[in-house]
Amino acid sequence: MSMSLDVHGLPQSRVSNTVETPLEFSTEEGSLKIFGFWAFLAQDMILFATLFATYLILHNHTAGGPTSKDLFDVKGFVIETVLLLTSSFTCGLATFEMRKGNVKGTIGWLMVTVLLGMGFVGMEVSEFIHNVSIGATISRSAFLTGFYTLVGTHGSHVSLGILWMILIMIQLWRRGINAVTARKVFIIGLYWHFLDVVWVFIFTAVYLTGRVL
């Protein structure tokens, strides 16, 4: 797909080819913002990579406090995983409905995504509260500092994503599906799937590994 401006630099003047361009890519602005968001995700990936590296180095620095084996509850983190992976699927369905031009379907699936996301955040918060109640606070050991920071950063990303998704649902409700709202749905989808991928790494590198090592 050609992305350059036309000779006069006018936006929104790109002629759609025989292959139909999706609505979110149909304007110059839309395609720029989607590309920009990919670059944002690249920097966010580095952010999480740093947190992962730190956590893995500090994993055994428990300073005589609780270890990952003591703390991690298999049932809890498996349910969290199921909730978040399902929400990624429903978010994909929302994009699918958006492509078909179905406003109600898009909002509906986004709503389901938000609810699943809230369930995930709720479980994480209760896990943290439980840990703190048994004395496993952020200042107990370097391991716990690394753990709360990595998992908490992911959790706050999800929470912001929920707020953002609600804003987009309101805009969809008011304005229907157009080039701008379609782009917003597409981008929040990218963000949500990215958080899902990060969670897969947390699930593996933090929770599963933490149960074994």
Partner: protein, 654 residues
């Protein structure tokens, strides 16, 4: 008796005098600005034309003005340090003050002088060089600027409000932790850098997208001007390096405020992890500021040799390989950590490897000069001074890269001299070359050559007088970051020479300000009527000076490298002036980026003083304004054909 009196004077009078002096000068300057703006009824003008602008050229100008102000502040810090070190056993500054001053000097010069200077040049030049009408995300660009601006403000008030950070610009743990750095000083450092870092990441993304997506038709990647290439590579470095800094800063902040244990000595924390994370950003950061300076060099040397840049492809390959290898060298900042022979050997070799592409670039500049029709002016002088100075930095860099020898150099004045050769000889000389070169494009008039050359010679000679003896005194064993030294070590005379050199640099800076002031006063005589005062080669010289808001009335079609040069030589078609004009789509101004900057300032201040209610208010205000933006749908407008015709006619283009 005398000793006691001296101590009293030293601790109470001089210290207080300096603090009150700083307080008073800041208050006076602020009142002066308020008075001038009110007296000339300029508040509305300031808000409408500057504070709310999303125009990349105006944002670039604001970045550069801020950078020059910070160069002044950081320069005063440097003068104070050099005064203190001019002779053995001086008591101009106390140890405590000296620590604060070398910390703020380093932090300001890197993050609040070099960075905004480079980003300012990027802003002004890149869209014009690639034939675009603005950056990809103009509103975000304004936000980047205001985050930088309010972060700089936050950092600067530390000097008069609560105390400056004093753990060095690299802020090593555990020294910078809660236990050894009590008080808000270190928090100022952490918050200010976090806020400006967010802005920088946004700038990186913005210019990556701009360069990859908004080039004029026909401008393939290998037809881009070398400055644009250097910026493209820099944006990738920013995107991959700055998040690491942001995370490290937040971690140290959590250690300090919430008793976390990332870098503490107790409870399993690892102080050396801070050092690793800091330099994993810090080394690429050196290239984030130096690569654009390389880009400026390439433009200036080629323009004033009136020749094509020699070895274009080799230049691109060396830019990319420097960027890649720069992520593999961070341990050379702390060979003495004792990571072992294998690790140190790896980082020794990777560091030396960087000398290869850098050497390629130096030779390419020399071959560009070779048999060129060389024109000497202020911009070219800065560029020519860059080559030998930066080469000395490179050679001493290779010396430092030898890990066994580094055990000797580590933490010495030799190292301090090395990185000043790189950062002043490289970045500052490059930025000043760029400033003189692109000044007419920014303001529509050239700078006075006579004063410019005077400023250059004072600064250039002063620089070498200041920093060359520092290599020697470093080899003699003088450590960095000591506030005074005993007599009888043979360091005194060399230090005095250094101080004289530093003052000469100060004179050079003042002469440059004089040059800017005089040229502004006489701007009618220095007016650039052609838009192309240097017989330039790239597209920014094809538009009037200063460039109109929309940059290009008609987007040019590019058919080769040095696009504008080819058009002038009749090798390719010029832009067809008879072609009908069409309305131009432009982004609206917005006050919100400024207000978001204010909110970040409030939140940052709240965290610095651990007043969490204030911090939460600031954070909520940020979220609220981001949400507001999401609901904003009227974000742009069209400039009508009549207005374009009028603007072009005023610039003599119709």
């Amino acid at each position: 008796m005398f000793e006691a009196l001296f101590q009293y004077v030293n601790h109470n009078l001089i210290k207080n005098y300096m603090e009150y002096g700083a307080d008073a000068s800041i208050v006076m300057a602020s009142l002066g600005i308020v008075f001038v703006l009110t007296y000339f009824k300029k508040w509305k003008w300031l808000w409408k034309e500057w504070l709310t602008t999303v125009d990349h050229k105006k944002i670039g100008i604001m970045y550069i003005l801020a950078a020059i102000a910070m160069l002044f502040r950081g320069g005063v810090d440097a003068m104070m340090m050099r005064t203190q070190l001019a002779a053995p056993n001086m008591h101009f500054l106390s140890a405590e003050h000296y620590d604060q001053i070398f910390t703020t000097h380093g932090t300001l010069m890197i993050l609040f002088m070099a960075m905004p200077f480079v980003v300012g040049l990027m802003n002004i030049v890149v869209p014009l060089q690639i034939g675009a009408r603005d950056v990809a995300f103009p509103y975000l660009n304004a936000m980047s600027f205001w985050l930088f601006f309010f972060a700089a403000l936050l950092f600067n008030i530390s000097f008069v409000w609560g105390g400056s950070p004093d753990a060095g610009w690299s802020s090593y743990a555990p020294l910078a932790g809660a236990h050894y750095s009590v008080g808000p000083g270190e928090n100022y450092y952490l918050l200010a850098l976090t806020i400006t870092g967010i802005g920088t990441i946004a700038t990186g993304i913005n210019f990556l997208v701009t360069i990859l997506r908004l080039r004029a038709p026909g401008m393939t990647l290998l037809r881009m001007p070398m400055f644009t290439w250097s910026v493209l590579v820099t944006t990738v470095l920013i995107i991959f390096a700055f998040p690491v800094l942001a995370v490290a800063l937040i971690m140290l902040l959590m250690d300090r405020l919430f008793a976390a244990h990332f870098f503490t000595v107790s409870a399993g924390g690892l102080p050396m992890m801070w050092t690793n994370l800091f330099w994993f950003w810090g080394h690429p950061e050196v290239y984030i500021v130096i690569l654009p300076a390389f880009g400026v060099m390439s433009e200036v040397v080629s323009t004033f040799s009136h020749k094509r840049l020699f070895g274009y492809n080799a230049m691109v390959v060396s830019l990319v390989s420097i960027a890649f290898v720069s992520f593999l060298t961070w341990v050379h900042h702390f060979f003495t950590m004792g990571a072992g022979a294998a690790v140190n050997s790896f980082f020794s070799l990777s560091t030396m490897l960087i000398a290869v592409p850098t050497g390629v670039k130096v030779f390419n500049w020399l071959f560009t000069l070779y048999r060129g029709k060389i024109e000497i002016n202020t911009a070219m002088l800065w560029a020519l001074a860059f080559i030998p100075t930066f080469t000395i930095a490179g050679v001493t860099g290779v010396m430092l890269a030898a890990a066994p020898a580094d055990y000797q150099y580590h933490g010495s004045a030799f190292l301090v001299s090395h990185f000043h050769y790189a950062l002043i000889g490289g970045v500052v000389f490059g930025c000043l070359a760029g400033l003189y070169y692109w000044w007419p494009k920014m303001f529509g008039f050239t700078l006075n050559e006579r004063w410019g050359k005077r400023a250059f010679w004072w600064f250039f000679i002063g620089f070498h007088v200041c920093f060359f003896p520092m290599y020697i005194v470093g080899l003699m064993g003088m450590p960095r970051r000591i506030y005074t030294y005993p007599a009888g070590l043979g360091w005194g005379p060399l230090n005095l020479i250094e101080t004289i050199g530093a003052y000469a640099m100060g004179v050079g800076f003042i002469l440059m300000v004089v040059d800017i002031a005089l040229s502004t006063l006489h701007r009618e005589q220095l007016k650039d009527v052609t838009g192309d005062p240097w017989d330039g080669r790239s597209l920014e010289w094809s538009v009037p000076s200063p460039a109109p808001e929309y940059n290009f009335a008609r987007i040019p079609v590019v058919e080769g490298r040095d696009a504008f040069w080819m058009m002038k030589k009749g090798q390719t078609q010029r832009v067809d002036q008879s072609e009908t004009l069409r309305p131009i789509h432009m982004p609206n101004n917005s006050g919100r980026p400024f207000l978001i900057g204010v909110a970040f300032f409030v939140a940052g201040y709240g965290f610095v003083f651990e007043q969490y209610i204030l911090a939460i208010i600031g954070l909520l205000a940020i979220l609220f304004m981001l949400a507001q933006r999401s609901f904003e749908y009227n974000t742009d407008h069209f400039i009508g054909v009549d207005e374009i015709r009028h603007t072009e006619a005023t610039a003599g283009r119709l």
